[in-house]
């Protein structure tokens, strides 16, 4: 168990619980024709989560920190793929499905393992074009296919 993460998560959930409780107070009290309004359920949840977070924080003081050996995480690869996924989402409607998917796949393939660029290009093309025509051609769905210039 990771003590640091548990503390941070405990505090984050605590704040979320309190915020949820406060915000739930803004919901109107009772609905027409019903004695129990839309407020009570979220309010109760806010209280429970707050209580549980306090309990979790209390637990983090009880157990001994385990010396977990530091694993080497591949942050660089992760952030490149994470970044390109966000860009992919951002550009999907702007430059169309085919082009954005092709670029995303190509970048991601090459990030995970350099080399064999020809294979990467072939697979990316087949996937992006294939999915697009299967979906919009055969199934009649609508996707923003290509850039609208």
């Amino acid at each position: 168990m990771n003590k640091k993460f548990d503390r941070v998560a405990g505090i984050a959930f605590l704040l979320f619980g309190i915020l949820f409780f406060i915000e739930s107070q803004k919901i109107s009290d009772s609905a027409y024709g019903s004695t129990v309004g839309p407020k009570i359920f979220p309010m109760g949840l806010g209280i429970i989560l707050t209580a549980l977070s306090i309990r979790l924080l209390y637990e983090t003081f009880k157990y001994k920190a385990e010396d977990t050996e530091k694993e080497k995480l591949q942050y660089k690869k992760f952030f490149i793929i994470f970044g390109s996924a966000i860009l992919y989402a951002f550009f999907l409607e702007k430059i169309g499905y085919v082009v954005s998917t092709f670029l995303f796949l190509l970048i991601a393939f090459q990030t995970l393992e350099r080399g064999k660029i020809v294979y990467s290009i072939i697979i990316s093309t087949v996937f992006s074009v294939g999915v697009y025509y299967m979906f919009s051609g055969l199934l009649g769905g609508s996707l923003p296919g290509f850039p609208l210039f």
């Binding site: 168990m1 990771n2 993460f5 998560a9 959930f13 979320f16 949820f20 739930s24 919901i27 109107s28 609905a31 019903s34 004695t35 129990v36 309004g37 839309p38 009570i40 359920f41 979220p42 949840l45 806010g46 429970i48 989560l49 549980l52 977070s53 309990r55 979790l56 637990e59 080497k72 995480l73 591949q74 942050y75 690869k77 992760f78 793929i81 994470f82 996924a85 966000i86 992919y88 989402a89 951002f90 999907l92 409607e93 499905y97 998917t101 995303f104 796949l105 991601a108 393939f109 995970l112 393992e113 697979i123 996937f127 992006s128 999915v131 979906f135 199934l139 009649g140 769905g141 996707l143």
Partner: protein, 508 residues
């Protein structure tokens, strides 16, 4: 016999050519999902919901729902078959319910009996699948007849029981599991309240009015969460695949495994029916039972065929048993069934006692297709086991980006908003962080699905009682459910205080 008539109609649905095709695709993808470590049945099903939704978009709602649930359920039980393949051949379980299979299965493979182990697990899974389906057919009608008499108070308490059971058994820390459940319930309140029409926690963002889409969150937390994990953590090299010499088991093997298969099937079925306890728990239980009852327990762990036959039957039977609470009560007992339920709700079909009356083609079509699917798996698995084992060699560098691309496509094709894509990415990172630190995500998804229903039933019950909360404990059935829910949370806690080790269900 009404049930037989319905079952016959169900076969009528299942034998439509496109449904046979869907079942076939489902079980093949399911087997692949089971073989690939990293993608469990939950992420597999979540990933395929949007895909099936688009494929079936041209059909009328009822038929579309039947077809897609046939495919998705195929993925679920297909994964149970596939998971054993890698456990036996590579000593790496493809999913958590096949962990015990490695104990004896890999030993058998080392002794050159890989083929027999694989065959026995396929046969065991098949027998278990059929037994659990017979149970499903027998129990479905009576159970839904009981459930139809439930009022809102009973439903509220029953759902509470479902949530308590899943959080009580999930993960290492119960505090964290309950936190995740509550968090899921909270996320479920976002959007316009179905009863009063008041917008809650939307902050005037039109995109939030319909609430957070369950599908996006499930795909993000499970499928992308796994991708993030595999990208970040260097994957170990997979070992060499054991050779398969002879596929058919010997007569002695069959004799040794008949009883374990039957025992495992029954045990697995009943564990599967219980909410919260899933396939993983069933396979563990079956293994320990077989070991205890065996005349020579020292053989276990050294390649004893009963150690493969029992657990493999149990996990498959459990996946069939888990369908019962989902279909008859509308209460999913595990993460995967929660996702299946989400899929049905997407088609505006409410699982529960009325399902058998209102949409018999969905309920009975699914049951009938599971017979067919299990048969297909048996036929496919025996000769094609070598091919399936090869799937594990799919290079990760191609697999991971494609999973991202498929989930992007799926979510966008259903939702048509970029907002959901960002939410998807966020959930992926969140899912990794949470499950890495023992915060189980399955209760979160379950709570997200059940949340609105729990709230509605609670408010309806309270409206009946004029705001008096005692309605939940004065109605006898409701009281039983609440006591059971409390017991489910308290008993493990008490056992822990006594210093006993408890089994937890880590289902992905």
């Amino acid at each position: 016999m009404d049930t037989l008539q319905f079952l016959a109609d169900g076969f009528g649905v299942a034998f439509q050519w496109h449904n046979i095709l869907f079942a076939l695709i489902g079980v093949i993808i399911g087997t692949a999902v089971g073989v690939l470590p990293g993608i469990g049945p939950m992420s597999g099903v979540a990933l395929l919901i949007p895909v099936t939704a688009t494929i079936t978009s041209g059909m009328p709602t009822g038929a579309a729902a039947a077809s897609s649930i046939i495919l998705l359920a195929g993925v679920y039980y297909g994964a149970m078959y596939g998971g054993s393949t890698t456990s036996i051949l590579l000593n790496t379980p493809g999913e958590s319910s096949s962990v015990v299979t490695t104990l004896d299965g890999y030993q058998m493979a080392q002794q050159g009996r890989a083929g027999a182990a694989l065959a026995i697990s396929a046969i065991g899974s098949f027998v278990a699948g059929i037994i659990s389906l017979i149970g499903l057919v027998l129990l479905a009608e009576p159970l839904s007849n009981v459930a139809i008499k439930f009022g809102p108070a009973e439903y509220f308490s029953l759902m509470l029981l479902g949530l308590a059971a899943v959080s009580g058994l999930a993960g290492k820390s119960m505090t964290k599991a309950i936190m995740m459940t509550v968090f899921g319930l909270m996320l479920g309140t976002i959007g316009i309240d179905a009863v009063s029409g008041i917008a809650r926690f939307t902050y005037d963002q039109p995109i939030l009015f319909s609430g957070l889409e369950f599908l996006t969150i499930a795909v993000g937390l499970f499928a992308l969460g796994e991708v993030v994990k595999t990208v970040l953590e260097k994957d170990e090299e997979t070992g060499s695949i054991a050779k398969i010499n002879r596929i058919l088991p010997t007569k002695q093997d069959m004799k040794d495994s008949t009883v374990p298969i039957l025992r495992g099937s029954l045990l697995g079925f009943f564990i599967g029916v219980l909410p919260g306890a899933g396939a993983t728990l069933a396979s563990f239980f079956s293994y320990t039972t077989e070991k205890k009852l065996s005349k020579n327990p020292e053989k276990f762990g050294k390649g004893h065929i009963a150690g493969v036959a029992g657990p493999e039957s149990a996990n498959n039977a459990a996946s069939g048993g888990a369908m019962i609470p989902l279909l008859t009560l509308g209460i999913p007992g595990s993460g995967t069934t929660a996702i299946l339920m989400g899929a049905l709700i997407m088609y505006n079909i409410q699982p529960g006692p009325l399902l058998f009356d209102e949409h018999p083609e969905v309920a009975w079509g699914l049951i009938a297709s599971m017979f067919i699917g299990n048969l297909m798996l048996l036929v496919l698995n025996m000769p094609l086991v070598r091919v399936f084992a090869k799937i594990i060699q799919t290079p990760k560098k191609y697999l991971l980006p494609m999973i991202i691309a498929i989930s992007f496509f799926g979510v966008y094709a259903v939702q048509y908003t970029t907002f959901d894509l960002y939410l998807l990415i966020g959930c992926g990172v969140l899912g990794y962080l949470l499950s890495k630190n023992d915060y189980p995500v399955a209760p979160l998804v379950l709570a997200l699905v059940l949340g609105p229903m729990i709230e509605n039933n609670m408010r309806r019950a309270l409206t009946i009682s004029n705001g008096d909360f005692s309605i939940f404990v004065t109605k006898p059935l409701s009281l039983i459910f609440i006591v059971a829910a409390a017991a489910w949370l308290l008993v493990p806690l008490l056992l822990k205080l006594k210093g006993r080790k408890i089994i937890i269900n880590e289902e992905d």
